[in-house]
Symmetry: C2
Subunit: 256 residues, 2 copies
């Protein structure tokens, strides 16, 4: 039975996609059967692993429209233990339609029942708003991983998500846990980082991962080449950090 982890924060550009892709790849390297699902109509997770409109047979769009079964939306990647379901939104009209279908917040949860036994982990890459597809993801998930980039809006974004989780637990998913708060693009010894760390540790110390993800140029480069960092530069600081995060998450799952 897979553990379903949603990667979410209602703030843009904090490293949600980078984390979803590289955590999924790291779990696969640790021989955990892993499925990555792109829940953002922008399609960044698919792009990050080299899936462009021409190479996608079917995606979440076709599944939510009942045009294709979920099995046929699963694509193999170059890592044997990593599969992906891209989103496959190719027009404004398709985006509008998928957003409306996602108003039924249990869609994803219902579709995943058919495949949840094929994987050890399912990772959901969420868009930066707490509606529609993000609500679908949080309704289906066992836990939420919150990537946070240091800055003025970090604490507000985390506060907002915790408030939203309380509502989700009430109306749709009472056992939803917090997987953890992950510091991304970490640049130590700056005033911005120091203030953010103080704010987050004062309020959310017990939810913080021990692993930090450093600011590392090869994480950005790897995405251009359609690869997870581990397949682009295995010994880069970014790759090593995501492998460490995967080990921390696997150890935590084993304790439960």
């Amino acid at each position: 039975m897979a553990k379903i982890i949603a990667v979410a924060l209602p703030k843009g550009g904090v490293g949600k996609t980078t984390t979803a892709v590289n955590l999924a790849a790291s779990l696969a390297v640790a021989e955990q059967r892993t499925l990555l699902i792109d829940m953002d109509t922008f399609g960044a997770s698919g792009l990050s692993l080299g899936f462009t409109n021409g190479t996608i047979k079917a995606g979440l769009y076709e599944v939510f429209n009942f045009v294709a079964g979920i099995q046929s939306a699963i694509h193999k990647t170059e890592l044997s233990f990593l599969d992906i379901i891209p989103i496959n939104v190719q027009s404004l009209h398709a985006e509008e339609r998928l957003t409306r279908l996602a108003d039924n917040r249990s869609m994803l949860k219902n579709f995943l029942r058919a495949i949840v036994h094929q994987y050890d982990y399912i990772i959901l890459d969420c868009p930066p708003v707490l509606r529609g597809l993000s609500t679908n993801a949080l309704t289906a998930a066992d836990s939420v991983l919150m990537p946070v980039k240091s800055g003025h809006f970090a604490l507000d974004a985390v506060d907002k998500l915790f408030t939203y989780l309380e509502w989700i637990r009430e109306v749709a998913n009472k056992s939803l846990q917090v997987e953890g708060i992950l510091i991304t693009m970490h640049e130590p010894n700056t005033r911005v980082t120091d203030i953010t760390m103080r704010e987050l540790q004062a309020k959310y110390r017990r939810h913080m991962f021990r692993t930090f993800i450093p600011k590392n140029i090869s994480l950005g480069e790897a995405s251009f080449y359609g690869k997870a960092a581990i397949m682009y530069k295995v010994n880069s600081r970014g790759s090593v950090a995501y492998l460490t995060l995967a080990r921390e998450i696997i150890a935590h799952a084993r304790e439960e």
Copy 2:
């Protein structure tokens, strides 16, 4: 008659809020009567200028709910030529309600008629999705300024916005122009920057601003202190870049 500029891109964390706030402040320093409107329910523009829930009389939320007139939502800032309308969304319920009200894409355009003669520029800070409040902004705007951070998703985000602009011109705002593509958080001589620059210049050269915004730590720090960079460290590279951008935009407006 104010020029209305929407700051938008369907990608998170590219510097939309930082650009909206610091461009508005720079226009004010150049003694242009300027109004900044926060169109993102997250409320980042308001936070960046030190407006917290306690200090807001009324915001866009009250205006769209016909609870307050637009004049009473206008707040003075420490810059005499800069006013702000914060969003003032204080709960999940309020966010949901405002998002639904924004389904009427002409709301903002109609409210702005009453105040458009009081300003030289109105700057709209948009959320990272092309729906709801962003559609309101693009329906009301004269032009769109696109902040772009170098990276794999930059070109896709710009392509997507250009497609959306064509639709907006057809259904809601036929004279909507492109103000320009602004490179933000610029770190020269990296592979990621070189690839992105090549991609953007090949396709959108004539829309690129001459001004680049460098990666500059004081832009992030200023926000923590509730100030535009110009009021925090006037001679920082970030402040100087946004002053230069303001001059470029003023010169462009004078040519029209």
